[in-house]
Symmetry: none
Subunit: 147 residues, 2 copies
Amino acid sequence: MPDENPTEGGVVAERLTHLFNTVHPAGRKPYSTAEVAKAINEKAGERILSPTYLWQLKSGKRTDPTHSRLMALADFFGVPVAYFYEDDTARRTDEQLELATALSNPSIRQLALAANGLSDGTLNALLAMIQSARHIEGLDPASDDGA
Amino acid sequence: MPDENPTEGGVVAERLTHLFNTVHPAGRKPYSTAEVAKAINEKAGERILSPTYLWQLKSGKRTDPTHSRLMALADFFGVPVAYFYEDDTARRTDEQLELATALSNPSIRQLALAANGLSDGTLNALLAMIQSARHIEGLDPASDDGA
DNA sequence: TAGTTCCGTCAACCAAAGTGAATGTGAGGA
DNA sequence: TCCTCACATTCACTTTGGTTGACGGAACTA
């Protein structure tokens, strides 16, 4: 039988795809499966998974990985293991994912920490400044899908 | 032959054995593997694992179960999945998420997100501005404990 | 246009996870 | 003593997680 159903086929696939699309250094296109596999293996110092298998997981051909491999993946993307299976963990994590990648830039982390405690008025003024800077540098307006 | 080498079979076996020994209704002897397997399968409404396999995990003959099975076991014994592994991975990701939640001020979130992708020069300029704003508003200079 | 490289995709294969059925053993019970 | 029941243990077998190697297409270069 042709398995078309994307939700039944695998939550893991869905979440993984989402991670690939969203978690990557700014100004860079998404990681390839080969890159991620290589990074994971090198960090671990042993072979954890192959590029092909990672692709199979991502595309739903394989659905239920060994816990140790899932841990390695979660670690790489900086999400808790439960992200791949539990809905509200995923939702909460997603909200923080974009912020977390932004904060992987040391300058931005510094910025955020420095801004902590400032009055709302000042924060708004700063935000306005940043928005025009984005415009000047030819970036998209920052998405503000506030909770 | 005396007790098997406890490290040989892996952490999972050790933890699982401990759970079998300690987690059971008072005034009752420990669950048998068959009991646990049956309980898990009945609760799930489908076959998750066999008694034999559970015993193999417990005794270290099998070491790296599928994540879904591990979840079922953790659920039965009422422990988090991470319990079965020496999970400093989990601890590290948790810390990461803490940083994100710590910055729960929506304005600062917005600020950080908007700043994402800006050039280093602009970021430095912004940081300088923020620093003087702190001064003006009578706040301490932002601590910059790097790393 | 041809050569190179990287990537996603696929199919055949291998190894390890997971099962079923049989054997051994000790505790009751008639 | 013999039977039986519940459990741990073992092993040959099946299933599926995971790998290897190859192919075609897109992007870059000469």
